[in-house]
Symmetry: C2
Subunit: 420 residues, 2 copies
Amino acid sequence: MRGTAEFIFTGDELLRGDTINTNQAYLGEGLLDVGVFPTHALTVTDDREAIAAAIGTALERRPDVLLISGGLGPTEDDLTREAVGDALGRSLVHREDLLDQIRARFAQLGIPMGDSNRKQALIPDGSTPMPFSGTAPGFWLIEGDTLLAALPGVPRELRQMWTDTLRPLVLTHLRGHENDETGVVVRRLRVHGMGESTLAEVLRDIPWRGSGVDVGTRAALDGITVILRAQPDPAARIRLARMEEQIRDILGTKIYGTGDDDLAAVVGSLLRDRGLTVATAESCTGGLLAKRLTDTPGSSDYFVGGVVAYSDALKTSLLGVDPALLAAHGSVSQEVARAMVEGVRDRLGADCALSTTGIAGPGGGHPDKPVGLVYVGAAIGAQVQVRRFTLFRTRDEIRERTAQAAFDILRRGLLDPLDK
Amino acid sequence: MRGTAEFIFTGDELLRGDTINTNQAYLGEGLLDVGVFPTHALTVTDDREAIAAAIGTALERRPDVLLISGGLGPTEDDLTREAVGDALGRSLVHREDLLDQIRARFAQLGIPMGDSNRKQALIPDGSTPMPFSGTAPGFWLIEGDTLLAALPGVPRELRQMWTDTLRPLVLTHLRGHENDETGVVVRRLRVHGMGESTLAEVLRDIPWRGSGVDVGTRAALDGITVILRAQPDPAARIRLARMEEQIRDILGTKIYGTGDDDLAAVVGSLLRDRGLTVATAESCTGGLLAKRLTDTPGSSDYFVGGVVAYSDALKTSLLGVDPALLAAHGSVSQEVARAMVEGVRDRLGADCALSTTGIAGPGGGHPDKPVGLVYVGAAIGAQVQVRRFTLFRTRDEIRERTAQAAFDILRRGLLDPLDK
């Protein structure tokens, strides 16, 4: 790795469990992308001495970058400015230009500025303020070989400050005492339809040791992500590209996207490219398919609408499912999933359709139809297929996995209409 | 506060941003509930020396509890056992009984146990193993005045070990060198329909300084939570109860629940209590209302179903909205929201109904109908009301806030049918 970084997060809300720290993952990923590897991330209580001591301890390890987040607000619990001053033996200076900017910000929001906000115009002597989108200016300074920067704790403000100001600063700082190579290359491949252990076996056959490329996987409800990371060196990058090719050869269409691609959005793009529309008929997913499809802006181009038919009566009245079919097979059955998907396709006049019916639990299971039994129907024009799944764990997980399975069936059908 | 705690989390995945650390918030909340306040939470890279150094530094501050999470797996990056041994000058001992349990666990999962798993049967000399649900035994020991415990990093396994074994241990440990008072009392009040600044003004009038009660707020998409925390002393607890009463007097039905109550589930309980059913007709929320209602197990008792009518044609064919109305007022209008809610109530045969139509963005805005303009319709029997909202920020936020607003209108209507 090329550089090292440490984080200090202030805020009792993070220690008490009121707030989950999402800034750590965000900054960690951002630093890694510019070739800096974080080694320590400390969350410390809102105590001036404790924060100053933490800064001192971190600086002793001489990281290239030390980021402090939080504690730049106007309250008496906001102590980062003071603690940085204490740790470095620097006084705080009042910056009238910052105060003007803070005032302007309040005026813009139409809120009167309180007296307490005046202290947000203080920064440590010799530091440089960073442009801010909230009311908390950040600042940075060089101490020894370390670039020390203080950022607000509000994720939106922190992210903007990172992107606009701090990321370029980190790159410049590192260039100052090393060569000009850019950072670690990260490649994420999103996979559906494969267990983590099977995938691990596939990856085990790829000779990654000593290649300068790290391979890892992350399993989540939306599938598995393969993460490839190449050290900042051209040879490692070439090897990464080759490994990605190898993995793609093996996994084929099991890879549905890269980076943060969302499966529902991938399906949406395929539909848009082909000029097709889709409708949904949901029982156990209760609106989740429609919600996921419409998470994407512009989804009205291909999503016409959907029906959540939770009761049997509505399966008949809204989707035209024959009551005799419901009586003969029960609502959680291959036959009803098929009738639902055909019904919604025809009644809503869509080219494609998806249906779900199952038992999401925790109640409602029977010995022959246990919790987790789910049927998913998919129609592409006149082609209809229904698949049966047995899913595990919580209601949420069963519903999320059902949605992913449904989207993936449609995705594969659109990629290869004959692949049934 | 009665006791202090520190956390050490191991795992490069937490520093690289591959995984968000949810264990910190979980353990923080759990410790606070037994009267222990965490002061430091360090995430440290998978390096034996760095982890051992972190343990040493933490012990120097003499916390009552030191929890280490992660690094108990079978891989060469799993170094917590070794690092604890190094930091405390204790050797690792092999426990055949633990190996038997690990073997049994693999047999139960139907997976062959690898050789690497043998090292999971090692624990530091003088420590006690903790029962485990995965394949990683935890362990605990007393060092000086500190209860040191090592837990797996997998959230499900960590949570079970905390609940079943560690929480009782922490209580016993604290009782050992202090009196028997139980922990901090935390009370969370969930509020909808009030801005954070207005709420802050209300809370400012309550004399909490020196009362032994902390008052804070947390704003999120689902509203604001007022958090009251009483020190572990009987007088503070009585004051907390009085303050809660005061706050309830002022906020009235703006408080929709306590703890982690979900507004959609609260509405569901009200419907069930009254023997009423509900249906949804969604445009801009695209299935989110139905999804939220069906997140709750047993929601089929009151939720009959819903329609996502994204296109104008479906608003007419599925909900019976008059095309003339759509032509005259546009789909984002008070008139259409009313027609949608009446249509879905009648066609799906529900007692109550909700409808949404609006512009969630980022595209689709016009000068007279900007992004964030939303109409919500609510019907309770023949009583219908439609409200207009102007919401901000991202598509996600606009949709989530619309859903909360819709549920709250129905909730208030059910509490007081005359309050229109």
